[in-house]
């Protein structure tokens, strides 16, 4: 049943993105160079492997060419950019309907984790051109909260780290921690949304740790990976009064995946994607074949919705392949960790 639904969904998406009336100028033009016909040859999730990885083209394509013409005039949309970890930033367009749906899904997952509604958020995640900041504002609002935002420029930090200016990167992080401190000490914050490096740094400040344990009921982390040992320490020793919920997402995924609720303390953090729109595959990077459940491989991300088609995108990360929670679309991921270099460029995570 799920399989049939999946095939139906994939074919529907192919029709949307490759019909002259609805497809984007980018994909309609790009389709001419493909050695297969998306309308007839792509019938289910496995066929998405036929597509080339086009994310590198998103560094210089005119962003209006990415908008599916099926939206017609008067489309509400926003442009978001990647963090530029592996070169010039990449750009995508989020239609308002997609962003809203993505926020709703995120919020539903937070409900499953028992994250309180009607509390205010403090979000120490990148804003500006990055989607995660908007996601924080709108998720907080949807759940009846206000959002206090910390302005965080991940590209600047990565540049400092790449150039070996560890002291300046450290000073910038201290500056961000100070901003967090101002909000934490003066406001009633129920949810803290931050990147693992920020939490690491926060954990070094006893006064702020005390404030978090007293006020904050949920910490949502995402943006960079969090190794299992650090996660244990944060959960059990540093922030024992607070629940930790992880997210794994990226701008090129056009959203996020969220930690599976209900797992035990000794189990790894498993990420379930927003299927069928966002799906994962874990493959052997040499052969491209899907690895067996429980084994590690490179993460391949598919995004397929009316707002965008970005499939067969090999992420910089490696993960353990886990059976999906429901519906059977794609894989779930555990123990996500970045590779040490990506497309020849060393990966620098920075504070984001």
């Amino acid at each position: 049943m799920a399989e049939q639904k999946g095939e139906e969904f994939v074919r529907k998406m192919m029709r949307w993105h490759f019909s002259p009336e609805t497809g984007s100028p980018f994909w309609l033009k790009r389709a001419e160079t493909l050695d297969f016909d998306p309308l007839t040859d792509v019938r289910d999730f496995d066929d998405l492997g036929l597509f080339p990885n086009v994310v590198d083209e998103l560094r210089d394509v005119a962003v209006r060419d990415l908008i599916p013409q099926g939206y017609g005039d008067g489309l509400e949309a926003s442009v978001y950019e990647s963090g530029g970890t592996t070169g010039e930033p990449k750009r995508v367009v989020f239609a308002a309907e997609w962003h809203r749906r993505s926020v709703e899904w995120f919020s539903e997952r937070l409900d499953e984790h028992g994250v309180p509604r009607n509390v205010d958020w403090l979000s120490a995640v990148p804003t500006g051109p990055h989607n995660v900041g908007a996601m924080a504002v709108d998720t907080a609002a949807l759940r009846g909260g206000l959002n206090f935002a910390i302005d965080l420029d991940p590209r600047w930090v990565k540049k400092l780290l790449a150039d070996g200016h560890m002291d300046m990167a450290s000073a910038y992080t201290d500056h961000l921690i100070e901003q967090i401190g101002f909000v934490l000490s003066s406001q009633d914050v129920g949810v803290l949304f931050a990147t693992p490096p920020m939490l690491d740094r926060l954990a070094q400040r006893d006064d702020l740790v005390e404030l978090v344990n007293r006020k904050v009921r949920t910490i949502i982390w995402g943006g960079t990976h969090l190794d299992a040992d650090t996660r244990d320490l944060l959960r059990d020793e540093v922030f024992p009064n607070t629940k930790l919920v992880g997210g794994y997402g990226s701008t090129m995924m056009l959203g996020t995946s969220v930690e599976r609720p209900g797992l035990g303390a000794d189990e790894p953090c498993v990420f379930d994607s927003f299927a069928p729109y966002t799906t994962f595959r874990v493959v052997d990077p040499e052969t491209g074949r899907v690895v067996p459940y429980g084994e590690r491989g490179q993460v391949i991300v598919h995004h397929m919705s009316r707002t965008a088609l970005l499939v067969n995108n090999a992420e910089r990360d490696f993960a353990t392949r886990i059976a999906p929670a429901t519906d059977g679309f794609g894989d779930s991921l555990a123990d996500v960790a970045p590779v040490e270099s990506f497309s020849g460029a060393p990966v620098i995570e920075g504070v984001y």
């Binding site: 560890m166 690491d200 954990a203 070094q204 190794d227 299992a228 040992d229 650090t230 244990d232 320490l233 944060l234 020793e237 540093v238």
Partner: protein, 453 residues
């Protein structure tokens, strides 16, 4: 399988991220817990909070830990089992490991004597000393927490930071990932002898987290190559410990034949892996007969597995050993090979090889090879004359000078970049508790201040 846990402020810590330590043949013998940066920062904070133990208690606990380290079951291993493990993991001859065990124990037992030797003659240990009533220098710490990025080339490296413990520093040791056995055993023994869990910690980490250890310490010592020396050259908080480039100098009027054994010992004792092993041998006049004699003696050293009681040479897995050999071949290209010219490997047939000694003759004391320090007995023999002077002798940890020329000795002792000068028939690896190895560590850890009451 042996578990080498991190030793943190709340006891042993076994991380999920573990690294396997193999023996030379590649069989896993231990797993090392690598801690994340957050663990490091929390452990370092705990060190800063920990109260200082009184001096007498420190001295007593050090002595007890030294005895336990050398003779008792510590962290599940007898001393014999520990020594066999180190030898199997690193290829260091078993007798060298036994010698290092005894040296570490002796250093711990005689630590008070070492401290007193390092203290400036005019300074007292405490403001309570009656001498401060008239105004007196008091010897005090420059900080509270000391970090050690240890090397894995020789177990005796860990003797070095015991001074910091004695002086009241709280100490964080980041072990070499290949030879974490010695610091794990020593830190365990110290903790059990009375230092508890929050005064001395063992933090195995990857490179990224390693920087965190230094960042959160008041002072630190870092072992490494020239790159490490450069990296920390301008950091007043860090004492970098680089290659030793120890040397032997024989002047024309000295008779070299009776001391050939001493030179051989300088080059090869302890497997030739130490910074105190001689790499350069400078001879006034024709160095050829000296090179020939050294080559003959060193060629006679047996090739044996490191576990053999008669083993004296280092052993490595065959792959890395070949790379060392190739490295030597490239560096020695334009020199005259007396020993090792056809290669230095002796394949033991079990995936490992003995690294045999090499002796090369150089044309000039200014040839760059003179300072080339490798992980096996390897000597560069060069001519020297008064015109060359002390310039080729600079940058030397231990210099054995076989000479009667007192003006020359004056110059050598005065030269700031020569660490230690042994005059006459003494091997470069000679050491004794209470004498500085590369200056007293206390010179870096302590300062004097006037107290008047």
């Amino acid at each position: 399988m042996l578990f080498l846990d991190a030793l943190g402020p709340n006891g042993p810590y076994r991380s999920r991220r573990q690294e396997t330590i193999p023996d030379l043949a590649g069989n896993p013998i231990a797993t090392l817990s690598l801690v994340p940066p957050l663990y490091v920062t929390r452990a370092m904070k705990a060190l800063h909070r920990a109260p200082v133990m009184p001096l007498d208690a420190r001295i007593a606990a050090l002595a007890e830990a030294g005895r336990a380290f050398a003779t008792q079951r510590v962290a599940g291993l007898t001393a014999e089992e520990y020594q066999r493990t180190v030898s199997a993991a690193t290829g260091t001859p078993i007798t060298t490991v036994r010698g290092a065990t005894a040296d570490i124990a002796r250093a711990a037992e005689r630590i008070h004597h070492s401290m007193q030797n390092a203290r400036p003659a005019g300074a007292v240990d405490s403001w309570r000393d009656p001498l401060t009533r008239g105004g007196r220098a008091v010897w005090t710490r420059r900080g509270d927490v000391f970090a050690v990025h240890a090397a894995g080339n020789h177990p005796s490296v860990h003797q070095g930071w015991l001074d910091a413990v004695a002086l009241g520093y709280r100490v964080a040791v980041r072990p070499s990932r290949r030879e974490a056995f010695t610091p794990h055993r020593l830190v365990t023994a110290l903790r059990e002898a009375g230092f508890g869990e929050d005064r001395i910690v063992l933090l195995p980490t990857d490179h990224q987290a390693a920087d965190e250890i230094l960042r959160h310490a008041d002072l630190g010592i870092v072992y490494g190559g020239d790159d490490v020396m450069r990296k920390y050259a301008d950091d007043p908080r860090i004492l970098p410990q680089g290659p030793g480039r120890s040397k032997v100098l024989i002047t024309a009027e000295a008779d070299w034949e009776p001391i050939v054994d001493t030179i051989v010992e300088s080059i090869s004792s302890g497997g030739g892996v130490g910074c105190v092993n001689a790499t350069g041998v400078l001879v006034e006049g024709d160095p050829t007969p000296v090179a020939a004699a050294l080559a003959e003696r060193l060629a006679a050293l047996p090739s044996l597995p490191p576990s053999d009681d008669r083993a004296v040479l280092p052993v490595m897995p065959i792959g890395p050993a070949r790379r060392w050999e190739e490295g030597l071949r490239q560096r020695a290209a334009d020199t005259k090979a007396w020993l090792g010219g056809d290669g230095i490997l002796d394949d033991l047939g079990d995936g490992t090889a003995v690294l045999r000694p090499a002796v090369h003759q150089l044309d000039s004391p200014f040839d760059a090879q003179l300072g080339m320090e490798l992980g096996f007995p390897c000597a560069w023999v060069a001519p020297w004359d008064r015109e060359a002077g002390i310039r080729p002798l600079r940058g030397t940890l231990v210099l054995t000078a076989v000479t009667t020329d007192e003006d020359l000795i004056d110059a050598l002792v005065a030269e700031p970049t020569i660490g230690n000068v042994y005059i006459g028939d003494h091997p470069t690896p000679w050491m004794a508790p209470g004498l500085p190895h590369d200056g007293y560590l206390a010179d870096f850890l302590m300062r004097t201040k006037t107290v008047l009451r």
